[in-house]
Symmetry: C2
Subunit: 154 residues, 2 copies
DNA sequence: CGTCGTTAGTTGTATATTACAACCATGTCC
DNA sequence: GGACATGGTTGTAATATACAACTAACGACG
């Protein structure tokens, strides 16, 4: 090649590319566990954590367009894991809560997901776990900032 | 919640979820720069790096199904950035090389991508850069191994 | 109390990514 | 030569996702 590719650059490129490959397994496995996809599990878990969640907040949490949120939540409602109820204060807004069934599924998926996490954790030297998480988080926020500055994806 | 969610678990879940959000910007921006998508750039770069690349090798590099490889390469051929030539040794196999135009685009996209990387790099404390990359790589291979063991995406 | 602009959510439409299966051509091994 | 494997392509289908257009409800201001 006659032109200069920053050595560091290709390293980052590879990193990003490998990351997106590694994550593909979670992101787009149609069924992650217990008949829910990974995104759906994410929603389930967020609602479980907060107890009650406005759909509008989910846009930000998942950082997707609002129409996408609707469509991600729909199947969970259909399967009876989540109920949507109109907010008392704002009749446009919708609150999400877990049904009994939803809680049950949430618990089961966690069991299954824990196995995955444990396997990951097992492969990271015990004493470096914290360090690894911290480092990833640094990269993450660097990428987010860069993105916010419009440097990627013009 | 009445059941136990491993504290560490939710941390990893959040990490994975944030990672896939952060990467979405690259992965699925239809046009990354110079009218090529991120995946296409990846292909361009791989071919540029090796000089000549068998399509079959690309399956592994991108870790996608072979039909997907075909379809990812197609637009690059149509746009005259890549040529496919039958291998001399094996008439089934196809080799990819960059055209002059392809090299030119590759260079330009690198310029544009470098800006992104630089912005990222700028946000990581200089002295920790190496450490961060190493840590991400550790997580990465842990995830890959876990996946290979079939712990995720049963 | 209307009107206008804003916000929450849904639906229509379109695109990209991707896998799987079926298929063809070629290679390899016995 | 025939059986099986490998490299590629195409058909089909599912998912993820965005944008635009729309409805309903809210809020503020005259």
């Amino acid at each position: 090649m006659s032109y200069e590719i920053p050595k560091n650059g290709r390293e980052v490129l590879k990193l990003i590319s490998e990351l997106s490959q590694a994550l593909r397994c979670c992101q787009q496995e149609p069924v992650f566990c217990e008949d829910v996809s990974f995104s759906q599990f994410l929603i389930l878990d967020t609602v479980a954590e907060k107890g009650r969640l406005r759909l509008a907040d989910l846009h930000d949490i998942l950082s997707v367009e609002k129409s996408t949120t609707t469509r991600l939540v729909n199947p969970l409602v259909k399967k009876g894991m989540i109920v949507r109820e109109k907010s008392d204060h704002d009749f446009r807004a919708i609150n999400l809560t877990l049904t009994k069934n939803g809680k049950e599924v949430h618990r089961k998926v966690w069991e299954c997901f824990s196995a995955f996490i444990d396997t990951i954790a097992m492969r990271i030297p015990q004493e470096r776990t914290e360090e690894v998480y911290r480092a990833v988080r640094i990269l993450l926020s660097a990428m987010r900032d860069a993105h916010a500055e419009g440097q990627c994806c013009t």
